[in-house]
Symmetry: C2
Subunit: 664 residues, 2 copies
């Protein structure tokens, strides 16, 4: 048991490391670490199951700092608890180039940072995914191997963001009772008191969606401990509203917006030292306090050892699969399974929508990979995300492999990220491509974190038809391709869809989006190649660069338009070739030689895509011909829209012929 005095000094260590680091960096957010230090100290000294020496322990409790601007809270904890990645020098280098202690916590910078946070609400939604992952893996591997809590520290900002509603309603519905949210209820946001803009009773709000809630004094260690203890016994997820004073200890600025996001200044820090009785120099933690923290870091070492023993005692197959899944490796049989599936397709190439082709590919993938967990934001039948292997999970039964995410695209994407981060799961989830806009902040974070979340985005153009321009993506391919480290696939037929899915599954360091058609597509790949042609981003599909006067580049549903244009051009005596471009990003990564060979030497280049031109110049040149959209779509049957907007083989062929004539 930690005495109150010791608790206070341990919490103050967090406060002063945070104040000092922000002061030295001349930048950062001292308010949250100072205000939430008591909460964090209780959590990490009395509850957190983790092992700083083995930070990747699969069954550790997860701690998510959803209020990521309070990064110094996390860095202080990691340093104090003995995580090797965060040294005192890293703390001193807070927010400097190359440091592990970035302005906001960045996944991958240091062990112990479970997710990248800062964009508000994301961490909370990630944590819902982590808690779902825990339950799913628990259902598969039992309490012996998977049985941990997910703790979240969230602020007013997280709870005001809409994504928090999507996350909490899903968590409440699934009764994720091992999810415990500590709400740093300091009533202050950047513009001032939260009463400027909000009157929500957060406890009542969470209760309305089935949560257990409590209100406590966030500076009373016993109250905090009692609340967490009680939360652990609940059959529902718990929100603990901890009333705190932001910047606790700052003599004149605490409790105000001034302490939120700026250095306190030397005078205020000196005042805090006096007020809290802290004599140590900046960045110095008195050795007895550091010892106490390091000791706290050892609390779960025995528990981890016992867990290792249980893992060792498990049957070899279970252990092997568990370890493989947690590493994120694929079974060796995977590529053979995909090849076999492709062979089957090549034998009788189906004319199906690529969303249907995706379902067929998933049927093969889900059979080969027990770790895939599907889902959709209430468009299951349209996204074709459900296969024979994927029964839905529910509060009563987590043995399924499908999540009905509800009409919550943003929450879905962020929860998927949480599952990926948890490990042991490869999540994929669907909505319409146009609604990628709703999920975009989470999709961006997946890219930044370099994690394998897979977004299934169907109805990928005006090809969706009558639903009209609100539902027709036009700029979305370009907008998603703009995100660094995001693989955007737009396959042209069933074989390409299988290949793209395989690359997405095998890309451990990048998320993927599959843009898929609503409408049926004629097969363009009919022969079987062992090679995954889509893995190179673009490839020559038809014709030859030897004699081609025109190269037609296209993606997805427009590849068959390009093939028809080629036929027209060939017939008119202008040999043409077709290059399919399922993934810009991967094509960009190829060697210059390969790219030049694929781009080819034909004097006329035409790109066909039912989206905007932006991004295509990199392939066809700024003098290339683009056949696509220049504005929003319209509401009408799809074939009429293609004609109306001039995305036809005739239009492409005639533009190419006109250009050829100009060239003489």
């Amino acid at each position: 048991m930690i005495s109150r005095d010791k608790h206070d000094r341990m919490a103050n260590a967090i406060r002063f490391l945070s104040m000092d680091a922000v002061e030295k960096a001349k930048s950062g957010h001292p308010g949250l670490p100072m205000g939430a230090a008591d909460i964090a100290t209780v959590l990490f000294t009395r509850f957190m199951k983790h092992d700083p020496k083995n930070p990747d322990w699969a069954d550790r409790d997860r701690f998510v700092l959803s209020a990521g601007h309070g990064s110094m809270l996390l860095y202080s904890l990691l340093y104090l608890l003995g995580y090797e990645d965060i040294t005192i020098d890293e703390i001193k280098n807070f927010r400097q180039l190359g440091s592990r202690t970035a302005g906001h916590p960045e996944f991958g910078h240091a062990a112990g940072i479970e997710t990248t946070t800062g964009p508000l609400g994301q961490g909370l939604a990630n944590s819902v995914g982590m808690a779902i992952a825990e339950r799913i893996l628990n259902a598969r591997y039992g309490d012996d191997l998977v049985d941990h809590y997910t703790y979240v520290l969230a602020g007013d900002g997280c709870l005001m963001e809409g994504i928090s509603q999507e996350a909490l309603t899903l968590a409440g519905h699934l009764k994720l009772n091992k999810l415990i949210v500590l709400f740093d209820d300091n009533q202050i946001s950047i513009d001032g008191s939260t009463s400027l803009t909000d009157s929500t009773d957060q406890c009542a709000r969470f209760e309305a969606s089935g949560w257990n809630t409590m209100r406590i004094d966030g500076h009373d260690p016993d109250a905090i401990a009692g609340a967490i203890e009680s939360a652990k016994g609940s059959d529902r997820p718990t929100l603990i509203a901890c009333r705190t004073t932001i910047g606790f200890g700052a003599p004149t600025k605490s409790g105000t917006a001034k302490v939120h996001g700026s250095p306190l200044g030397a005078e205020e820090i000196a005042g805090a030292r006096k007020a809290l009785g802290w004599d140590a120099e900046p960045f110095v933690v008195p050795s007895d306090i550091l010892d106490d923290w390091r000791l706290a870091g050892l609390h779960s070492a025995k528990e981890r050892k016992a867990w290792e023993d249980r893992l060792a005692a498990a049957d070899a197959e279970t252990r092997g699969e568990f370890e493989r899944r947690m590493r994120g490796d694929l079974p060796e049989t995977f590529s053979a399974a995909m090849l076999e599936y492709k062979e089957k397709l090549a034998a009788e190439p189906p004319k199906v929508a690529s969303r249907k082709a995706s379902e067929m590919a998933l049927e093969a993938i889900n059979a080969a990979l027990p770790e895939t967990i599907g889902g959709s934001a209430d468009l299951t039948g349209s996204n074709n995300t459900k296969t024979s292997q994927t029964g839905p999970i529910s509060a009563e039964d987590f043995s399924g492999r499908y999540v009905h995410y509800g009409i919550r695209e943003h929450g879905m994407a962020a929860a998927m990220n949480g599952m990926t981060l948890h490990g042991g799961i490869i999540p994929y989830g669907g909505t319409f491509l146009t609604f990628s806009d709703y999920a975009r902040p989470a999709m961006r974070l997946a890219s930044l974190m370099q994690i394998r979340s897979i977004f299934v985005m169907t109805h990928d153009s005006i090809g969706l038809g009558e639903d009209g321009p609100t539902h027709q993506p036009v700029e979305h391919l370009a907008a998603l391709r703009a995100i660094p480290n995001h693989l955007v696939f737009r396959p042209a037929d069933a074989i390409e869809t299988a290949e793209c899915w395989q690359v997405a599954i095998e890309s451990r360091k990048a998320p993927s989006t599959l843009a898929l058609s609503r409408q049926n597509l004629a097969p363009v790949r009919t022969s079987h190649e062992a090679d995954n042609l889509c893995a190179r981003g673009a490839y020559e599909l038809a014709g030859s660069d030897d004699d081609a006067r025109v190269t037609l580049f296209a993606t997805g549903s427009e590849v068959e338009v390009a093939m028809a244009a080629k036929a027209l051009l060939d017939a008119a005596g202008h040999p043409a070739r077709v290059v399919s471009v399922p993934c810009f990003e991967l094509f960009e990564q190829q060697s210059d030689d390969y790219r030049k060979a694929v781009t080819g030497n034909a004097p006329v280049k035409v790109a066909i895509e039912a989206g905007i031109r932006q991004g295509w110049d990199a392939i066809i040149g700024s003098d290339g011909i683009f056949v696509g959209m220049t504005g929003f779509g319209a509401s009408a049957p799809a074939p009429e829209l293609y004609k109306h907007f001039g995305i036809t083989a005739e239009a492409a062929a005639s533009a190419a012929q006109k250009r050829l004539a100009e060239l003489g």
Copy 2:
């Protein structure tokens, strides 16, 4: 008073028009119109203040169909009530090319469509903006001129989307008691029963944020009327949860997901005709019922006349301003005021961040235009969105001109759209550029609707520094430029900022985003031109095409980098010119001659922008040199980041020189 029998027949008219139109289109959503027909009938026959013959009546009640997929409900109503834009032929042409009856309601297609809906939750958030606009205009013009309700029909989808939380918490806080939300509580979503994915008690949820709530039988006309009557007397916004049966009247499919989004089929429709005692042919409304509806459409004619009389009786200045604002015209003095402000700037060009320059411009704009309403998503001090004229509004006092939107970027953008749609207001609202991702679905709709919402996006690059890659936009300029009909401005100094603001304010048919720097920028425009150079999208800032060997194109904070690069190149004997490109979209709209002249003939073209290349090829060509970002940013002081990522005058000059050498 309408008898129950008459009510039923009037409601059935909506049901059959909807069924028949969806059936003929072979596409659409019959479930909601059939389920919500009773609600809509009560609302429009007993409450709605509107005049089909004068649909733009400023003080009409607004009706927002947030569940936009139920568009046939709205089209049926407009036809039945006598709105001239929606004829029976338009109903028959539902979802066909060129019809006014698009798949989802589209603002601008027909009078009576108050906003474009379909992307779920947007309409609800629009309505919060409309209700805010009503209160603000009421505070200015009094009950005589502005005193109306905003009614919303929302479904489960709207309420599951996170944006609904942002909207309802803001509405509850502001006690928008003239906002009445009719929740079509049919417990069905596309994947099946909402119990698959949600357990939220919606009434309890809304109450937690200060709403008045009721639960009623959504098929009982008197219960509906009683609830609306009671809501009108509340001092808080009201949610009326109307329990309905989706697809009411469909004999085998009602109450199931099957009736949500597909034609019912001839047999089911025949069954419905039988069940509901409806003998009329498809698209025929028995004349007595049509007469009753048309009569209902005349209910408010007298009230409108009385309102016209009050407006006529108002003093000329008030009336003039009111009418001008509602038309969306600017006062004639506006351009002179902006010119005067520019002259002042030119006399002493300040070295300020463009976010500060924006505040200065707003100081002039807000003085000239009483209709601007500012705000920020809790970043007021950072976005510099508040000026001396803009005190905050609150539940108690709507005479202010500033909205503390809270940490609700998406809700803010959608509420701004609602204000714009209401009329009488030009809203602008701020957040960090990177969080435009959170607001993107609403920003897209502003573009699609062609309305003047103005988004102030500060901290527009790695120039924000230490907050790191989560907060550093990299792809956002490209992603926003990708949206059709969206003006993305990135001004280089105070004068450009003033010019861009002026164009944004004057662009009645397009929303604007101003991307603004955190860091100070040296003035690049020091002389005074009467012309608004930014209005042409790009212009020659320095040097001359006569002798230039290099043209440097840049935007915003990188224009001063380009100017420094020009100095280096000039000194090295390679005359250079600089083109500032504050707005791609506007540049694209210029004549070929102008564009050619600005692009110039220098053999080497370099673009400098602290974002990704995507989109720039249209200006510099695919062989042009790009100095910018290729991936995510990092956490460090801004000057270090510019060096680290090589966005410097030296890098630009040396790349240009290398290319010149290659060219020989």
